[in-house]
């Protein structure tokens, strides 16, 4: 870049992180042997054209069922896995084309906290070494200073400075996750991907870790991408939410909009599946979706969700719905949002449980089990 002293404050337009049409395909049957036999490689479309943006200082929740590509998305956007298509811009610069000092800077500015606190810490390094490994790699602090920094970081995440000499196996899951958070903070990042950071923890410990994350966000002005399948956690921590289904984002919007006024049938079903403890809920039919998530090896044509959607019609199998604006920064990829779409004239699919008229928001998904 330049020799400008203020390179830290690079001017850029748009959001801190902009993900556009990100694709990550894995190929099966792609060995030399398979090619000799003339087998076509099968693409597993783990992430298939995902776009969203994360603005500075906010928390974007990325939710979806297991296997919908949430974690792959987060690891790919950091460049930890090689993307097969699309682009990611961090502060306006293309992450996949970064080289040299730009890349080094990006590795400091963007960090990740992993889901599994047991496999994400090297069992043969002490906690102090783990936490300050980034400083060592980037040559940011040496000797005494590094030791001090390790102690500061450990104390900041609620552990004790004495713990720096211990090995990861001496800690509980929640403590290990705190170590993982300390490691992410060591390089003073701006953007942290939290890849299901609490889903492996006990419920009581989850709350503590979530509070810690919120405190840290405030203190260091961090921007979070929070990946999770637990909706209550997402609602608690997020400013905006993106809902993923089978490698695609089906709906994005402010957290209250998504939870109070979901537009996409998948989001509605997802919210219905959350168990609630309320007297008014007595008699509610458990809103469960029929069937399984289709294989990403061979995703259904048109709208990915049409095989399970209670509102699915013929039109859904033919064309992929674009993202429709449904309100302030709220987008949903469903034809039902568009009152003029030919969807309304086409035939309902056999498994669809209703005709589609007068559906109330968040309802109607469940009653297909007879």
């Amino acid at each position: 870049m330049s020799f400008d002293v203020e390179t830290d404050e690079v001017e850029y337009e748009g959001s801190l992180v902009e993900v556009e049409d990100l694709e990550k395909y894995y190929y099966e049957n792609d060995t030399l042997f398979d090619r000799v036999l003339g087998r076509e490689p099968t693409a597993v479309r783990a992430v298939d054209g995902v776009s969203f943006e994360v603005q500075e200082g906010e928390t974007l929740g990325l939710v979806g069922e297991s296997g919908c590509g949430k974690s792959t998305t987060s690891e790919t956007l950091l460049g930890l896995r090689e993307a097969t298509g699309g682009s990611v811009r961090f502060k306006g610069r293309d992450v996949f084309r970064m080289t040299g000092s730009e890349r080094t800077e990006f590795r400091q500015d963007a960090q990740i906290v992993f889901q599994d606190p047991f496999s994400s810490l090297d069992p043969r390094m002490t906690v102090g070494e783990i936490v300050t490994e980034g400083l060592r790699i980037h040559g940011l602090a040496g000797g005494e200073e590094r030791t001090e920094r390790a102690k500061d970081l450990l104390e900041r995440v609620g552990l004790s400075a004495r713990h720096a000499d211990r090995y990861p196996h001496e800690f509980s899951g929640g403590q290990r996750q705190r170590i993982g958070i300390a490691r992410a903070l060591a390089l003073d990042p701006e953007f942290v991907v939290l890849d299901e950071p609490v889903s492996a923890l006990d419920v009581s410990v989850q709350a503590q870790v979530l509070n810690l994350l919120e405190d840290l966000q405030e203190e260091f002005g961090l921007t979070y991408l929070f990946v999770a399948h637990d909706l209550s956690v997402v609602r608690h921590i997020s400013d905006r939410v993106a809902v993923m289904y089978l490698g695609k984002v089906v709906e994005t919007g402010p957290v209250d909009e998504i939870f109070e006024n979901p537009q996409h049938p998948y989001t509605q079903a997802l919210l219905d599946s959350v168990p609630r403890a309320s007297v008014e809920e007595y008699g509610r039919r458990g809103g469960t979706l029929e069937g399984d998530v289709p294989s990403p090896r061979n995703p259904p044509p048109g709208c990915r969700f049409h095989t399970r959607c209670p509102h699915a019609r013929d039109a859904c199998t033919k064309e992929l719905p674009p993202d429709y604006d449904t309100g302030e920064r709220h987008e949903a990829a469903c034809f039902r949002v568009d009152a003029d779409h030919e969807y309304w004239e086409s035939e309902p699919l056999p498994h669809a449980s209703e005709t589609g008229e007068g559906t109330s928001v968040g309802g109607g998904i469940a009653d297909s089990s007879d």
Binding site: S160, Q175, L212
Partner: protein
């Protein structure tokens, strides 16, 4: 912030805890009496190897200080107080020669394994970490070596190079490294999928750094165990080559060579072959016991 998770119990301090860890490891090792026996046997042999000139009653009979001695007037004496293991066809004290043979055998074991590890482990590391075409090529080369029976290959190498002690070590190392490449490769494949390896890349570590700092330390345990088990086998193979006349040449006091020579005088002069054979048996047994003990120890530690 909540501190309920923080360890509040009085902290005994680093040194104290390290000592506890060590005690635990020693305890686990002790759980298996055979491994202690193995350790004792190996220590015994190491002691003998170091002090052979002082223990052996007739060091020159074993060619000590390049002053080989022969006493034809004492040939084929049966074991007695003077010659514990008897004497051979040149009247040399077999006990002294067996003691000096310890030096050779241990040297063979150490050199062969050092060579095998320093070729095999890097090959496995690189092949496993890089994968793809490079990994495939390296492992297929390894497979070629593995597909030839080890003793046959060692024989061929040894014959081609003229049989002597150095070439024996070279030959055995040449058949041994592929096993380490294989083992390391497999371990690397599983370790490199661990999240902490990905985490190290996430904070900007280079491949070299990731290999040496994250992967290598985590694959060392099984390699160490295999080394201690293999010591015995390497010595055994060297002895086999000696027995077949393609290893160390007489009058080198190598155990396999001695067994081979003594074979001509069986069964009348039974002591000639028997005692070197017992020594081979004992050292291989010792290394096996030790290796088993180490394996149990590491199995528990790495979970």
């Amino acid at each position: 912030m909540s501190n309920s998770e923080t360890v509040t119990a009085d902290d005994p301090g680093v040194l104290e805890r390290r000592r506890e860890d060590l005690n635990r490891v020693v305890y686990r090792f002790k759980q298996n009496p055979m491994s202690i026996l193995g350790l004792c046997i190996i220590f015994g042999f190491v002691f003998i190897a170091i002090f052979a000139p002082y223990i052996a009653p007739y060091p020159n009979d074993a060619g000590y200080q390049n002053q080989p001695a022969v006493h034809f007037d004492q040939k084929f004496e049966s074991p007695s107080a003077e010659h514990l293991f008897g004497t051979d066809q040149a009247g040399r004290d077999i006990f002294s020669r067996v003691l000096f043979g310890t030096r050779l055998s241990l040297r063979i074991g150490v050199v062969v394994l050092a060579a095998a590890v320093s070729i095999g482990v890097p090959v496995g590391l690189v092949a496993g970490y890089l994968g793809g075409g490079v990994g495939m090529a390296l492992m297929r080369i390894t497979d070629v070596f593995l597909s030839v029976p080890p003793l046959v290959l060692a024989l061929a190498v040894s014959v081609a190079l003229e049989p002597n002690l150095t070439n024996v070590m070279l030959a055995i190392a040449a058949v041994w490294w592929p096993w380490y490449a294989r083992l390391t490769y497999g371990e690397v494949l599983s370790v490199k999928e661990e999240t902490y390896v990905e985490a190290s890349r996430g904070i900007g570590a280079t491949s070299t750094r990731t290999i040496f700092r994250e992967i290598l330390p985590n694959v060392l345990a099984p390699i160490t165990v295999k080394m201690s088990l293999d010591m015995g086998y390497a010595i055994l193979v060297a002895a086999s080559l000696g027995f077949l006349g393609l290893g160390a040449q007489p009058p080198t006091p190598e155990w396999g060579t001695m067994v081979s020579q003594g074979r001509d005088y069986m069964p009348a002069q039974w002591w000639y072959s028997t005692f070197p054979g017992l020594a081979i048996f004992l050292i291989v047994l010792g290394f096996n016991f030790l290796g088993d003990g180490l394996r149990d120890m590491f199995d528990v530690e790495v979970q």
